[in-house]
């Protein structure tokens, strides 16, 4: 692989990471607001530090790409893309700060994210749960329980729930939905049906 290719590979990797992280931060920030969770909010702020580092590294890489002048505009486009992702991350961090700043967020904020009469649950997936080893699409949690998975905690990492995310024993599922679904989800995650 030539030196140029290696550089573009790194730029590409960083931009992928910037985009995915900025989106994860938005999901977490809104979840923090919904749950009034300081822990989640602090997680967002930690990601923001990581985002800042990554963004600086990305900009330096792009600036060091020694392309001909006809490519300069394209490189500027990349820099601006990075700036936008960083701004989205900043907005997420500030939403997290709203959670950390206030004792109790205004009820309207939680209502924005969840409809009325909804609840939020954190549940640990036990070894004996039928969910273990299934992707979220296969698990059909919304169909089975009416609960919507907001985010999954795996060890010390947060995972964005995607249709192809495979559920593991020990995962903590954070889900919101109607109160009636809570019991169903508890049965599903505990494996005691």
């Amino acid at each position: 692989m030539s030196e140029d290719n290696q550089l573009f590979e790194k730029i590409c990797n960083d931009l992928v990471e910037l985009k995915d992280t900025s989106e994860l931060m938005m999901d977490l920030a809104y979840s923090a607001l919904l749950l009034n969770s300081r822990q989640l909010a602090e997680e967002v702020l930690e990601l923001e530090d990581w985002m800042d580092m990554l963004h600086t590294e990305f900009e330096i890489l792009v600036l060091s790409a020694k392309d001909g002048t006809q490519e300069v505009k394209g490189l500027l486009g990349l820099i601006r893309m990075g700036v936008v992702m960083e701004r989205i991350a900043d907005a997420a961090a500030e939403i997290a700060e709203v959670v950390l700043r206030s004792g109790e967020p205004h009820p309207v904020l939680t209502m924005v994210i969840q409809g009325a009469e909804e609840t939020v649950e954190r549940l640990v997936v036990s070894e004996s749960s039928s969910l273990v080893g299934k992707t979220l699409r296969e698990a059909k949690i919304p169909d089975e329980t009416g609960m919507w998975v907001l985010v999954v905690r795996r060890g010390d990492r947060w995972v964005r729930p995607r249709p192809y995310t495979v559920i593991q024993a020990g995962d903590i599922i954070v889900a919101s939905g109607y109160v009636e679904g809570e019991e169903d989800l508890k049965k599903l995650t505990s494996g005691k049906e």
């Binding site: 985009k19 700043r101 209502m111």
Partner: protein
């Protein structure tokens, strides 16, 4: 210089308005990334249009919040609501900046296409063929989110864009802009081209 409109007070539900703002800001990000990926001015212009709507919404939201505060306690907690409102607006500003990259002909580096192949969510354009099972259905009825994990964020018919479609009936020759997993997008593509008679 673009026109700046005067915004008049209208009584609205703070909750509904904030939900609308959050949805629009998320839609704008998807549209803006699509505009960049496909280097498409039409989509970029839609983003700018939504940005104008957002700007007006923030004003109306703030007016309603000001009238809602009766005492110190209200002011303290409503300040957080105003802050979240202004932050969703920041996100829409960021989306408008991506649209600006396209509209100002700054140029989309080939890396961008590669990046969108590797991110968790993929964006794609598919055109509907005459014999597609999707032709004649509304976007809502296709229920693609539940079936294959794909969202339709826009439909283009001729020169006209329909943004965040629900009740619109998809016709042959329409172009759908979709977001989803690689696998889901692949299934959508096959159904759109008429190659499969079944989504799953």
């Amino acid at each position: 210089m673009s026109e700046v409109e005067r915004v008049e007070y209208t009584p609205v539900s703070v909750r509904e308005t904030l939900i609308m703002m959050k949805d629009i800001s998320e839609l704008m990000i998807d549209l803006a990334y699509s505009a960049a990926l496909f280097n498409n001015r039409g989509l970029a212009e839609e983003v700018i249009e939504l940005e104008r709507r957002m700007d007006a919404l923030v004003y109306v939201l703030n007016m309603n919040l000001m009238l809602a505060a009766r005492d110190k306690e209200d002011a303290e907690s409503l300040a957080g609501v105003a802050k979240v409102g202004s932050l969703t607006n920041n996100i829409s500003d960021a989306a408008a900046d991506i649209a600006g990259i396209v509209l100002n002909n700054i140029g989309i580096h080939p890396i961008v296409r590669e990046v969108f192949q590797r991110t968790e969510e993929h964006l794609a354009r598919v055109s509907i063929s005459e014999n597609s099972i999707l032709a004649g259905k509304t976007v809502e009825d296709m229920d693609l989110a539940a079936e294959i994990g794909v969202d339709i964020i826009a439909v283009r018919r001729g020169r006209h864009w329909m943004i965040n479609p629900e009740k619109e009936i998809v016709m042959p020759e329409d172009v759908l802009v979709a977001r989803g997993t690689a696998e889901g997008i692949d299934k959508l593509g096959r159904a759109a081209r008429g190659e499969s008679k079944d989504l799953v």
